[in-house]
Symmetry: C2
Subunit: 347 residues, 2 copies
């Protein structure tokens, strides 16, 4: 199996290095032969080639069996809204070109981290949500631009029946292997794309008679996720709503630094932490690498079908936490300083 | 002063009746003469006239000094994405026709409700956020429809410089009277409307040198609101992001049932709870009327300039809570059953 490592920007570099180390250890332990290559994306790619997703990177991605991804972004562009070339364009183009229409974001709290969240333990305990975020449509990919001599900006959100149906089916199927509850999130009281979304989910629901389907408006879902996270099993939603709700839901898992994601679709799967490039902590050795490590578990499971290997990775993370080790983001007042790990040691 | 009462649908009826009673008491206590009228909107208006915002209602709104509003919505339409006439159209048309471009949503926790939230008290204590949600632009009001024989749906998000500037200025000014921090929330790494938004906020910031301005991406803001609500003072954001973030932030105030809002702009101001029509609890007498009561306080303060009267209303809510009285949504295990109030008694 050939794995392409694409660390990208900021802490993407540090955490992906740890993820790769875990892949190597798994290969050794289970006698697999994994080969690796690296490629550029984001700000580092712009600096080196002028292009946030160089053709070479894209080719390498298509030719590999899985991609271990870091993060993209740089404050330079965030502070300059008129920048024409931006790191995020690399990420979005990758998603589109690889047809990565389904972004899976499991939000599961490790019991040891019950105290690390800002939400009360009794509200959190037992939460286990799997998000399916649509990843190649919506307002992210519709036409956008300026008119009236630059005085008016616009973005077009678009969804086709086909696009909604394929992500909805993935979510229904996943719900079938879990607690058999699906919550579809939209804003059908205002948006036409959401009305189509709801129509499609309603239309295919009878094909999954054992799944209990619920529709929620996005504003209400944003509230319920915090008020009562346990009521959710599988959640399926559009690209923009998924972006917002999964970041919010990171608080259910204690920290953003614990959240992994898998983006799958028509071609090579891409595995990455949900967190961003976090330039404010880059190079300080305090980044939590566990999101990258857990992304490796998803990679082994989903792209390689190596369930036992994936479980081994998750068990190792669990043991690390049970032994009391913490990175800074998940440490609390009771964590002794010798158990606070830097990025490398946590790996 | 002439006040138009527009209860709308579901619990809108019950809670607005309580809000009106509070207005009457204040008028009596302070010797004001308020006159009242009522009008239809939403589902009840569709049933009576076929129109979610009858011309008569709109005329009455324009002719009054303030509107006390309830809620609109009905499950019938939520379950039928293809319905052509919908209660929410009445609400959106009202916002547009009255030019209500600024929606103020204060998120303030009453100390007595520290325990009612799903967020830990030590995270919450001292939170006090004022949201400025833009209310007449964005993807709510751009063109929307179907193409490809109904197989593709689209919604256009749009903002002009002028629209961003007027709401941003309101937020800067409000920050000046508070803790002098403004957080502008957008998704400028992806959306063109957000890039315009950020440009405009950056451009006018130098005119408010005493305000500390920060820009956050909406996904990150959705996380930070729960992780560290105290870091926010005034938040300004677009229509859709404001819809999602303020519902989420209701958890900071203990319950949605405590949140009031003021919509102001070019004409009569409209005051309403943030919560919806909640048909599941309609007519049961369990709805929390305090959001409507606190909306009355905003009405007195903002539209009538009656600060002392507004403070009297807030003090009464505070006393009710201090005396241990609770509606069901904010009660907890320690609330004795005789202190659990129904909607009317809470008024
Ligand atoms: C960096 C940004 C464009 C991206 C997104 O909005 O999809 C990120 O927030 C994510 O969730 O992967
Ligand atoms: C009912 C709905 C159209 C409305 C909105 O999205 O604006 C509501 O959620 C609100 O926040 O006032």
């Amino acid at each position: 199996k050939h794995i392409l490592v694409v660390p990208g920007d900021g802490i993407g570099q540090e955490v992906t290095a740890v993820g790769k180390k875990v892949l190597e250890k798994i290969a050794e332990k289970f006698g697999h032969e994994f080969t690796y290559d690296e490629a550029l994306i984001g700000h580092v790619a712009i600096e080196a080639t002028g292009n946030p997703l160089p053709e070479e990177t894209l080719e390498k991605m298509k030719a590999s069996d899985a991609v271990l991804f870091g993060a993209v972004g740089h404050p330079k562009y965030d502070n300059d809204p008129s920048a024409q070339v931006r790191p995020e364009q690399g990420l979005l183009k990758m998603r589109k070109e690889l047809g990565l229409y389904a972004n899976l974001r499991p939000i599961k709290l490790f019991d040891e981290l019950l105290g690390a969240s800002s939400i009360k333990p009794e509200i959190l305990k037992g939460s286990d949500i799997l998000f399916f975020r649509e990843l190649t449509g919506d307002i992210y990919f519709g036409e956008k631009g300026r008119k009236n001599e630059g005085d008016t900006a616009y973005d077009i959100a678009e969804y086709s029946r086909y696009e909604v149906e394929r992500i909805a089916r993935k979510a229904f199927e996943a719900a079938g292997t879990r607690r058999k509850k699906l919550c579809s999130v939209d804003k059908a009281n205002v948006l036409e794309t959401s009305r189509l979304w709801r129509e499609v989910v309603q239309a295919i629901a009878p094909e999954y008679p054992d799944i209990e389907v619920e529709h929620q408006f996005v504003d209400s879902a944003a509230m319920m996720l915090i008020k009562d996270p346990k009521r959710f099993d599988v959640v399926v939603t559009a690209n923009l709503f998924g972006d917002i709700l999964t970041d919010e839901a990171s608080q259910i898992a204690g920290s953003m630094g614990m959240l992994a994601s898998a983006s799958v679709g028509d071609s090579t799967g891409v595995y990455e932490p949900i967190h961003g490039s976090a330039h404010d902590i880059t190079g300080k050795g305090v980044a939590n690498p566990l999101a990258s490590v857990l992304s490796v578990a998803l990679l082994l499971d989903i792209s390689f079908g190596l369930k036992e290997e994936a479980d081994t990775v998750i068990a190792a993370v669990d043991k690390l936490l049970k032994d009391g080790f913490r990175t800074r983001d998940i440490a609390d007042a009771s964590t002794p300083s010798e158990k606070i790990l830097n990025t490398e040691a946590a790996g």
